[in-house]
């Protein structure tokens, strides 16, 4: 397609391809000047158009990404109320000391960590196994891929509402199944660990297929020679998986781990909508309040935007620390292997 359009593009009269005219003495001079002008324009174009192409992205990024990032840091040092967001009063680090003194902050931090682990680890492990199976020669392979991606098309809101019903204590489908195999009813919304597992289930359901596709793509990019030589060395399929596939996937695994970690630190909609009391506290006893929900509660329910900014920046700093640890570990792993 590309070539057709290219050759169909009418050759411009400008630039070096100008048709040669029989050159008289004065027209040659004019021609020379015209060429010089065109060549200058050409050079300007070559020099500046790349910047013209990338600048909209960077302008928008500065306006909606970088500036807010810095302004959040600035706001976190002030007392700002939601009712009058422009009245800012210098507060130093008071917002930070206030949230660090708040037991609900630490509770939310712990919940974010546990929900993050319960949702990310099984999700990535299952995605890896699924990708491995999808990498076989399969009948109707496209069908499985599309079916597994369907949850990704479902919004947080719709998914959370459905899972609230499925996890209902008295009439929910999941308890009914558990009951029929002999378990007691579990109070998925009010008990700490069940509620965290339920919230994680929504996340796992939505993202496992997506991650499986990412792993599958990376698996398909592994050159066959590696498996060939492993097989010649007598490695069976399981050894091949651990000694060829996994090492080759390491960059992709790291990538999904980083993305999932960022996602897990942001969890907000699922616990918000899973709350039976329709509040922002993550359950009656804050049993599944995440940092994202705590931020919302401080900023928009309690109307302390300054404090919410401090929470946002604390979350960011935690992420940076996790990122650095991730980086160091992966460097070590690479060096040792």
């Amino acid at each position: 397609m590309a070539t057709r359009h290219d050759t169909a593009a009418p050759p411009e009269k400008e630039g070096g391809a100008a048709p040669g005219r029989p050159a008289g003495t004065d027209t040659a001079d004019a021609e020379h000047r015209r060429r010089a002008r065109l060549s200058r324009r050409w050079q300007r174009d070559m020099r500046w158009s790349p910047y013209a192409f990338v600048s909209p992205f960077f302008l928008l990024f500065v306006a909606f990404g970088l500036f807010p990032l810095i302004y959040t840091a600035w706001a976190s040092l002030h007392t700002v109320e939601l009712t009058a967001p422009t009245d800012m009063e210098w507060a130093g680090l008071r917002n930070y000391t206030r949230i660090f003194d708040d037991e609900f902050f630490w509770n939310a931090a712990r919940n974010t960590l546990t929900i993050g682990i319960i949702s990310t680890v099984p999700q990535l492990l299952m995605a890896m196994g699924l990708a491995h199976i999808l990498n076989y020669r399969l009948r109707a392979s496209t069908f499985y891929r599309v079916a597994m991606l369907a949850p990704y098309a479902t919004s947080i809101a719709a998914a959370s509402l459905v899972f609230v019903l499925l996890f209902g204590r008295d009439y929910g489908m999941i308890n009914w199944v558990l009951h029929s195999v002999g378990f007691d009813n579990i109070d998925w919304q009010n008990d700490k660990w069940p509620s965290q597992i339920a919230v994680s289930t929504i996340i796992i359901w939505r993202w496992t297929g997506y991650n499986a596709l990412i792993y599958l793509a990376a698996m398909q990019a592994i050159p066959n020679d590696l498996y060939e030589s492993a097989a010649l060395d007598g490695a069976n399929r399981i050894r091949q998986f651990f000694h060829v596939t996994l090492p080759q996937l390491r960059p992709t695994i790291l990538f999904t781990a980083v993305v999932s970690t960022i996602g897990a630190s942001q969890v907000f909609g699922e616990p918000l909508l899973f709350d039976a009391n329709k509040g922002a506290s993550g359950g009656a006893e804050h049993q599944f309040q995440t940092l994202g929900l705590y931020l919302y509660e401080q900023g928009w329910v309690n109307q302390h935007l300054g404090r919410a900014s401090a929470i946002a920046w604390t979350m960011f700093l935690i992420l940076i620390v996790i990122g650095v640890v991730n980086y160091v570990i992966s460097r070590r792993l690479r060096a040792s292997s």
Binding site: F53, P68, A153, A217, W313, M315
Partner: protein, 301 residues
């Protein structure tokens, strides 16, 4: 950290493809799947689709039936009624129009801006290219919640609460989009074509219109769909700025159904079904392309 992540898997694909595969090579992932593999796949497929199917089942019942055990496993007769009530109760008509506008504008803009920026990063030489590309990748790592407070202040100051431009503006930029288009154009657009156009005297903009856009069309379509899905499903930011019920997006309307005091679960399920259906339709039609697009973005990303 990311650069290694992103570039490493590229090398294997760049190498020459083997046309003849030995038996040993086949052992590496080309084997036919056995029955166990199909069983596992079937379980995951059921797990993926069951909640969606059950949404429809619950939406076709009434509230009393949902408050009984065992829960319903088959459709009832209330579907149309519930859909109608949910449609009006949650202001879903308006929500659909709003979400289509928001997702359409932001997907189109992201695709356009990502294509020209991706082209520049893939094919043009300019000072600072490497550093700028690193910034693009770096921005993919910055969590969006960090910017919502100042954005909210801006929106409040401009008096844009409950207006669509407040939702649209921050979604016009996507680092992933730039990265995705760059990776695609690196391999899909041969340098010779650009050079040929240049020799013919085409300016950079002409090259973009007549060479880059036609070459990038498949990737633009995929990116457009991905961005549409993402914006359609956006929750946090619309939830914060569209606080009144008069002008919601679909997600805000659904959250309103769940958080309001609607006791009727079958109505809530009808709303959830309506809010999900358009995207499921898109997936049913373009699923293959979307899967391909995600995998394409993934090998290199």
């Amino acid at each position: 950290m990311t650069t290694t992540t992103l570039t490493e898997p590229e090398t294997p694909t760049a190498g020459p493809r083997r046309t003849r595969r030995s038996k040993a090579a086949r052992a590496g992932g080309q084997l036919h799947a056995g029955p166990i593999a199909y069983v596992i796949l079937a379980l995951f497929t059921i797990g993926s689709l069951f909640p969606l199917v059950w949404t429809a089942i619950a939406a076709s019942r009434n509230n009393n039936r949902l408050a009984q055990t065992p829960p319903p496993f088959w459709f009832g007769s209330n579907l149309m009624h519930n859909l109608q009530v949910a449609w009006t109760d949650a202001n879903l008509g308006k929500a659909f129009v709003n979400t289509t506008i928001v997702a359409g504008i932001s997907a189109a803009t992201v695709v356009f801006l990502s294509t020209i920026a991706g082209f520049a990063f893939a094919k043009l030489r300019f000072r600072g290219r490497g550093a700028l590309m690193l910034i693009v990748i770096g921005t993919m790592m910055v969590p969006p919640q960090l910017s919502i407070i100042p954005l909210y202040m801006m929106v409040a100051k401009l008096d844009w609460t409950d207006q669509l431009q407040a939702v649209i503006l921050p979604s016009l930029v996507s680092a992933f989009g730039v990265f995705f288009m760059r990776q695609y154009l690196l391999q899909a657009l041969p340098d010779e074509i650009i050079e040929a156009a240049r020799v013919d005297g085409a300016s950079s903009w002409r090259v973009v219109w007549h060479v880059v856009f036609p070459a990038a069309r498949p990737a633009m379509a995929v990116l457009g769909m991905l961005m549409f899905v993402q914006t359609w499903n956006d929750f946090l930011w619309p939830f914060l700025v569209l606080t009144q019920t008069g002008n919601p997006t679909v997600q805000v309307a659904l959250a309103g159904l769940g958080r309001g005091y609607t006791p009727d679960q079958s109505l809530i399920m009808a709303g959830a079904l309506l809010g999900t259906l358009p995207l499921l339709l898109v997936f049913a039609i373009f699923g293959k392309q979307i899967v391909g697009g995600i995998m394409q973005g993934a090998v290199k990303g």
